[in-house]
Amino acid sequence: MFSWLEKNPFFFAVGVFLVIAFAGLVEILPNFAQASRPVVGTKPYTVLELAGRHVYIKDSCNACHSQLIRPFKAETDRYGSYSLSGEYAYDRPFLWGSKRTGPDLMRVGNYRTTDWHANHMWEPAKTVAGSIMPAYKHMYTNVADIDTAWAEAETVRKVFNVPYNTEIPLQDGTTAVVELKDLAAEKTKALEEAAVIAKDMKRKDIEAIVSEGKIPEIVALIAYLNSLK
């Protein structure tokens, strides 16, 4: 059989094609399954949240924190329900992380709040006794880059068809829309959201920076952390 194939290049090619096509199908077909679509209720990030995500990446939070809850009782007790692949649909790149020096942050928005982050990021050890997490005081003065965040949102909307300005079904049967307008409008919107967070942070210095029309990195980061649910 094999020596016959070796002498008939056409059929050999057909054989090779079949084998590779099968292997390809096995990898491609599962992507069409419902389980690999975005999970119902997964929303794209707003511009302010994206800016916070950039801060998260820039300061390498993912070196110490994972964003992937495994299906074990001990983990779901601490962090909430286990992660599903469809929940990462709008994460580019995903931030699963590979080492947990600190706890998982996949659903930190459920059990930590704006004012807690404001205290914790400033001086982790003063909030959680014995914490070895570094302090991030520079984030309280550095200004977040909203332009880049907006550009990223606009890019993924155009290139990957991320559903901005579209009705997204939610778990309770209703729908929500994450708007993405032009840069100027988004900047105004981000500032409004930032003002709310700054107020909840209970820090006058942050409120002052926001009222000058600038958004400190910490505000964007907290918007992002609060969106992790």
């Binding site: 704006t114 909840d200 209970k202």
Partner: protein, 307 residues
Amino acid sequence: MNKIVIFGIVFTLALLGVVFGIVGGKDVDMSGDMVNFYSAVAAVLIVSITVFVVIKYVNQMQNDTASGELAEHNWDGIGEYKNELPTGWAIMFIILIGWYIYYGLVKYPFNAYSQIGEYNEEVAEYNKKFADTFANIKNDPAKFLAMGKSVFNVNCAPCHGNTGDGLATAGEETLKAANLTHRLDAITVKNVIENGSNQLGYEAMGGMPAGMAAGDDVHTLAVYIAGGMSGEKPAAYAACASCHGEDGMGMEGVAPSIKTFDANMVAYVLSHGKKGAIGKMPSFAGILNDTQLEAAAAYVQSLSGAK
């Protein structure tokens, strides 16, 4: 016996001798711990097998000549020996193909292992164990408090501090969460009087209206209530008594106790969260189960010495 085999034996013995020379003097207990014995046997085996496999191939390289039956095809005079698969290997190969067809098409798809299934079993088993073990925990107050304390340490301490004091660094303005070692912090009282509040589940009268006192009274009341309502009662408290009671112990369904942590109020805060002058507390519904929530509430009540 061929020279190279003799060399192999001598080399093996020499290696073992060297190892014994190094380890032997070290007073290693061969009989006490079987692991040492097994390691020694493994070492001997590995050394001898290595040496003799090497010998086999060195021999083969020196002495082997081409032999066997040529296959009928040849290309430009270059031929190929017929090299049949070893029978045992070939049988195994065919059996495995059959096994894969069974496993890949029948066994796996129809009797699939699921990580989530395993997780669900783990949770069901745990919940049953929890229910069995702690069915009567409320009859044993010490154990119930111990459970509350451990829940508190894991879930509440990051905000309220290990002792429940709210982690203030300098004065009430720096509280990171409510100080649970007493009922109320003065900034909370001030905030509630000035802005009202409707989030503890007392909807009967539309929560607590804003502006129940004004001017200096706010401060006086805050000090009085945060101080545990001991000492002389300020006259302005009359405005509060209609709902919170003369003694501050609250009224069922109307207003919470502002003197002690009443169970309803704490339970409501735990399952709904709360946002106030100090900050925002997240809800713990769905994170803790009912028994844990009640235990945490009991522990919170115990922190301020209330019953």
